[in-house]
Point group: C2
Chain length 308, copies 2
């Protein structure tokens, strides 16, 4: 019991509260939505869900609920798991053509993951609020106006709003996925107010990752594998962002599992200057930035119409 007291203190000092920061962003967006309403515009998110996998279903529901809470419209197309590629593409085209839909989200994974690239490339780049279309990725890399992918952008916002210095910092990212590690490493090292860091990108082909992470001011674990980041891999005082969401069996829970990140949270808490929990860390930020991109899309469309 003696040891519990300082640990609780540490938690209070160290924890990066993703739920809180996401709520802060949603509050700002609510003000934007209210302002747009005075111009007769309601930002609309179109959601395409194929099949009804429980995890995908619950993500989609969370996103729709988040839209409603800040006064945005959402419209869902839910196709059966047996939908043909043609039907899926047509559903995207329907959302592309809908004038009250400003952003489109295709919930991944699709039952047939081999058609994902084709489907994603069907999304109108101007409505690609997930930032997955090659045009958006390219524009982001070149520093042109673009929709930044939601999870990487959410992490940049977390760091900024937690007053963790990024400019000039050495950031080590573990994981090179197209939706997190790769775009995050790019955005962090670009010259803008949320970036300008020196970034090292590690992955399954890397040797001696620990040697690199131990030098980092910020370590970001985005490998999708528990225990990717252990306590011996982090310099005391470094900040840790944990992007992983891994299910591990837990018979003490009613549902039979619990969620853990890629980092050994309990061991890192006394070492890191700041750390995100899982759940309640990066996760809520992703939805907040999806709303952000959709509001941005609505505003841009409105401005273009005013110009046109």
């Amino acid at each position: 019991m003696d040891k519990l007291q300082p640990l609780e203190k540490a938690v209070a000092a160290h924890l990066i509260d993703g739920k809180f920061i996401a709520r802060q962003i949603r509050d700002e967006l609510r003000a934007d939505v209210t302002e747009l309403a005075t111009r007769g515009v309601v930002p609309g998110l179109g959601v395409l869900l194929v099949g009804n996998h429980p995890a995908s279903r619950s993500y989609v529901t969370a996103k729709e609920k988040a839209c409603a809470e800040i006064g945005m419209l959402s419209r869902e197309i839910n196709l059966p798991e047996t939908a043909t590629p043609r039907e899926i593409v047509q559903a995207v085209e329907t959302l592309n053509a809908a004038s009250d839909i400003h952003g489109i989200l295709v919930q991944l994974p699709l039952p047939d993951s081999s058609i994902e690239q084709e489907v994603l490339q069907t999304v109108d780049p101007g409505k690609d609020v997930d930032g997955f279309h090659p045009v958006n990725v390219g524009r982001m890399v070149l520093g042109l106006p673009a929709y930044w992918p939601c999870t990487p952008h959410g992490i940049l916002q977390m760091l900024k709003r937690s007053s963790i210095p990024v400019a000039g910092a050495h950031v080590v990212v573990i994981g090179r996925s197209n939706i997190v590690g790769r775009p995050l490493s790019i955005l962090l090292s670009m010259k803008h107010v949320l970036g300008n860091a020196t970034v090292t990108l590690c992955h399954t082909g890397s040797r001696d990752i620990a040697k690199l992470t131990r030098q980092a001011d910020i370590v970001i674990a985005a490998a999708g594998r528990p225990h990717t980041l252990t306590a011996d891999m982090v310099r005391p005082g470094a900040a840790v962002i944990d992007v992983g969401v891994n299910r591990v069996e837990d018979p003490t829970r009613e549902r039979g599992y619990r969620l853990i990140g890629d980092a050994d949270f309990d061991d890192l808490l006394p070492i890191a200057s700041a750390i995100t929990p899982v759940p309640g860390g990066v996760g809520p930020m992703t939805i907040a930035m999806l709303l952000h991109n959709t509001v941005q899309a609505a505003r841009r469309l409105t401005n273009n119409e005013a110009k046109g």
Copy 2:
């Protein structure tokens, strides 16, 4: 004089001969061009030059000469320096529409650099053999088939053909330009036969670059500034790739200047396991890969027509 002997030996052992490797690639491409000719296809490069700046003129001439040498077609549109943005865009559209032109090169910088992005985005992505169009950049980042930008691709080929191991190596890249450092850092860290390295990208916002370069197996200097990489910054036995081409005054030369790289070549030669000279290192590779992309474009178009 005593010291000259070992230094000359070192040169022989260390030097990565870009001219030689580029010639090797051009010889391979000549065979491809001959094969395509049997199917009635001559790969064609369209070149747009605005104005007649001596450096740009000489680059364009070198590229056209390289085309001719391997049996490729090249066609130049040379607009006056006073050409309007509309005229420049129309010239690109002419090349887009030309059925005997498979690849398009807009020689940069344009006299008015503020219109470069607009002009580059006018290039048909299927003919964008420089790999500068956002669609190509995005496709490259996502690991989809794409034209890789010529200088980064040339460097990957140099490393491979010099038997310098890249997979698993720690590569430190200095410079984050859209045409070299940024795409190079991405390509090096992707999972393919020329990549899979652990990459750190340094730039003008980085602190203590020397600490990072001293840990690298391969250091790539692409900052565009002489003396960016000094001898104390490189671990003995590391490989050095020098992308810089800088003019420095030299009254002993007839033209009044000489070209030097970003690395202190003479000081690094005894330290590095391998190093590229300037000129004669990376430079010739860029043209070779431009030809490579154009041959690839011609082949792809031909295959598509055969399918259609």
